[in-house]
Amino acid sequence: MQHYLEYLQAYGGRFVDGTLVTIQQTLLAALLAIFVAALFGMMRLSEKWLIRGTSIVYIEFFRGTSLLVQLYWIFFVLPLLGVTFDKFTAGFVAVGLNLGAYGAELVRGSIEAVPKGQYEACHALNMSYYKRMRRIILPQALLLMLPPWGNLLIELLKGTALVSLISVTDLMFEAKQINGTTYLSAESFGTALIIYYLMARVVVSPGMRAFERYWGKKMGRI
């Protein structure tokens, strides 16, 4: 125990730095994933085959290939085609685009799960597509998709560990660096493990549950 406290005293600051980068990566990737999921999830339901097709290609590509390979593509291959991202940006963009593809399926599924009668009521009241989606369907779909989004955001948080492989100085990167110089593997990776767990268990899950309760109340659920 004494030994571990000394270890933390020496390297705690770097774990904090790494954790802050992980939090930034997570937040930015989550924002991108939510945006991408909403966009491609709704496009997936379009009546126009070109829009629907674009969405299907996107979802299939990002779900069907490895996040790590996508990360390497964005960071190492796109520059060859003239598109260059710094490593921080490449990191959260890859994670966000990948998890966003899963999110798009959640958006699609939850929109489809809103009872058909709701669409018919909107139709009978002569609501436009835009009004119908924004005021009636999406608020209800959001309630249905919040529990699986909680899972997805935890996946996303853990997925950001991969950005250490393109040298983004996140939590995992720091843990590897410290391990490399101290050879204290149990302490280094154990600490990283605990921090990831706490972020998922203490921040993301309760946060999502609170939002679910809030939205459920707003939606008249009793």
């Binding site: 009668g117 018919e120 002569n126 209800q140 008249g220 009793i222």
Partner: protein, 268 residues
């Protein structure tokens, strides 16, 4: 393109006209060249065995279903089609949106918006479809909810209302759009027996106090007989028999009508 169908029906047109309307689902013909007129302020009940196309009639009029052949006119104007270069072509969304404001519908399963209060449900479309001010929409919705006997429930969400109360909110919501035609699609079929009466009472008062053309599909034979001006008996996609309630219920001419009525009335 439609030949032999007038571009409009002129000034003495019926409120609703189905002209040779056919509806198929794949191989199955649900409605076969249906002709049906409903006059202004007339109350018409559609009865018949399940699968006879009753509900489809309402759903086509609400433009929830497209028709395969024929033309539906509302208030003299084509609904399913629109005039272009002196011919009727299939209606586009803009035409449908213009025409749809004439028609309201009450559903079997209420289909209230669960995330809005009774008041919110009623105010939603007047404000966001008709562009009415909040003050005006509020006044109209309160008045309608009071009319259906729910003045004390206006701030409740649907989940806290009984089936009968929800259906009365749904009626108020449809009326808030001031439709000329109101469609009732088996509005008491999903209700517990003890609350059916309160919904029927609301419809009864609408029938007597408001100038509204009503078309309803119902299994409540006694009620249909009491408030309808005319009964249409549907059988296999056609109107097998129609006439005044008294005639249909007391002296049906068609063998199918007799069978159906004796089966239904026995069950009651």
């Amino acid at each position: 393109m439609k030949e032999n169908f007038p571009l409009n029906l002129g000034s003495d047109a019926p409120m609703v006209r189905f002209s040779k309307v056919t509806k198929c689902y794949g191989e199955l013909t649900v409605l076969d060249s249906l002709d049906l007129d409903v006059q202004q302020n007339e109350i018409v009940s559609i009865i018949g065995p399940s699968g006879s196309g009753k509900t489809t009639v309402l759903r086509m009029l609400m433009t929830l279903e497209e028709i395969n052949d024929g033309v539906i006119y509302v208030d003299g104007q084509p609904l399913t089609h629109m005039p272009k270069n002196n011919e009727l072509i299939k209606a586009n969304e803009a035409h449908l949106r213009k025409m749809r404001n004439n028609i309201g519908m009450v559903f079997q399963h209420f289909n209230l918006f669960p995330h809005m209060t009774a008041l919110g449900n009623c105010m939603e479309a007047p404000m966001h479809v008709l562009g009415m001010s909040r003050t005006e929409a509020l006044a109209r919705s309160e008045e309608l909810l009071e009319m259906v006997g729910l003045a004390d429930k206006i701030h409740e969400h649907p989940a806290r209302l009984s089936g009968g109360q929800q259906q009365r909110v749904a009626i108020a919501r449809a009326l808030a759009m001031r439709p000329k035609i109101l469609l009732f699609d088996e509005v008491t079929s999903a209700l517990d027996p003890e609350v059916i009466g309160e919904v029927l009472n609301v419809i009864r008062s609408l029938a007597s106090e408001h100038s509204l053309t009503m078309l309803m599909v119902t299994h409540q034979m006694g009620f249909a007989r009491e408030i309808s001006d005319r009964i249409c008996f549907f059988y296999e996609g056609k109107i097998a028999e129609e006439g005044a309630p008294q005639q249909i219920f007391e002296n049906p001419q068609n063998e199918r009508t007799r069978q159906f009525l004796s089966a239904v009335l026995d069950a009651n």
